[in-house]
Symmetry: C2
Subunit: 251 residues, 2 copies
């Protein structure tokens, strides 16, 4: 049988506001286009609508920048209030150079500006923060979809990160529910009996990259269903994808 995976964009999800029932908005939109989730689907949801529904939005005008934030802003050409929000969302600065601030967030993710972003935020001066606990966000969506649609899906919350060495952004999984985030090949052998060099594949990240092919950045499609991918069910976490600092040569 021909292996095939389908990536289905969910269009028609309205503008999301704090307190909105995101699972309901996603299911309503999926129903309207006749693509309700089925058992075994992976629902990929972009971070921005999750954060909006959870009220993780800050009006930059309400923020008082610290002295350090003002210094960094002057160095990098950024807005001092914006920098202050980035610093508050960070537990460590990984690199600060050439107008770029790479930090480690309180979750442990390493990304530009602690994931704080003004684009697609909903208005001038608004900044969107990452969800407080993206795994919890994913699990809440997973449970809500099981309860309301009667189907068992996995959920991945995606965000757009840059990376060292390579141009362009890539999608990554920051929150995971219902699937194992890393596919483990340890000890398995190739068809020639040779033990595989690759032992762990970041399947949760691959799922977010596949979803981005339909969600895009301007299309107002904040969610996609991935159908036909045989994932390993389990209680994975976005944190499984964060390398232990002791094993990381590039912190």
């Amino acid at each position: 049988m021909t292996p095939e995976v389908r990536v289905i964009g969910i269009v028609g999800i309205p503008e999301v506001h704090p307190g909105d029932d995101l699972a309901a908005l996603i299911l309503d939109a999926a129903r309207r286009q006749d693509t309700l989730p089925i058992d075994g689907d992976v629902l990929v949801v972009t971070q921005k609508v999750v954060s909006k529904a959870e009220g993780r939005v800050v009006d930059v005008h309400t923020i008082e920048p610290s002295t350090f934030a003002r210094q960094v802003a002057a160095e990098t050409g950024k807005n001092a209030r914006h920098v202050e929000v980035v610093l508050r969302e960070s537990r460590r600065i990984v690199r600060m150079d050439r107008g770029v601030i790479i930090t480690e967030t309180h979750h442990g993710f390493i990304c530009a500006n602690a994931g704080v972003d003004a684009s697609n935020a909903g208005g001038p001066g608004l900044l969107i923060l990452l969800p407080e606990d993206p795994d919890r966000s994913a699990e809440a969506l997973r449970v809500a979809i099981e309860e309301r649609a009667g189907v068992r899906v996995a959920v991945v919350i995606s965000d757009t990160f840059g990376r060292p060495w390579r141009e362009g952004t890539d999608e990554v999984a920051i929150g995971v529910a219902g699937l194992v985030a890393l596919k483990d090949y340890a000890g398995q052998r190739d068809p020639y009996g040779y033990e595989l060099r690759v032992t762990q594949v970041a399947v949760a990240d691959e799922l977010t990259a596949a979803a981005e092919l339909v969600t895009g950045k301007l299309e107002r499609i904040p969610a996609a269903l991935i159908r036909g991918y045989h994932f390993e069910p389990g209680s994975g976490s976005g944190r499984d994808l964060v390398r232990d600092p002791d094993r990381d040569l590039f912190r």
Copy 2:
């Protein structure tokens, strides 16, 4: 209309040997499963079969290790002949620590072991090297498919790389033909009029990640068609995805 992208694995491609006509093998297999490529498809082919067809295979027993290769092998617990091959495929060592050798290949890619790999190589002692010019490999496949099947597809050659900060491997595009590798949003605005923070999306990498959902590592599925993705036609290159050293904070 519901946006949908299909990722179709091509099964039944036989073991590939030096000199084989890879385009013919792929088309034959696709024909047998009734999924011949159509205009606008992206054909993603894993590096290993491309390298095999191009004869980029080395028998490690024929390699005489240098003094430096022996030293590195002793430090890292690797085979000295294998290390010698890695060094020959590299123009610079980026990091060498804790048993890991990260190098910059002659193409400019930064990856473990210069992309030299023994798994799925075809036999004991065999090492597969990256294609000499993966863009040329991609273009040759693109042209062959246009000539024989009469369809215009884009071709991406994928490989499996690790990355800093995150666990698990990810797929990347090392060769590209017929599409623009980076989708450029520079100057575009979100629905609220705010200029996008993300200006370049590594769509060629996203396509390889989507393909991995069906190709896997053990399934003997070295190629996939991606159908329904509206890429920008053009003469992209795998090198477009390599960050200029001057703009890279992590070399």
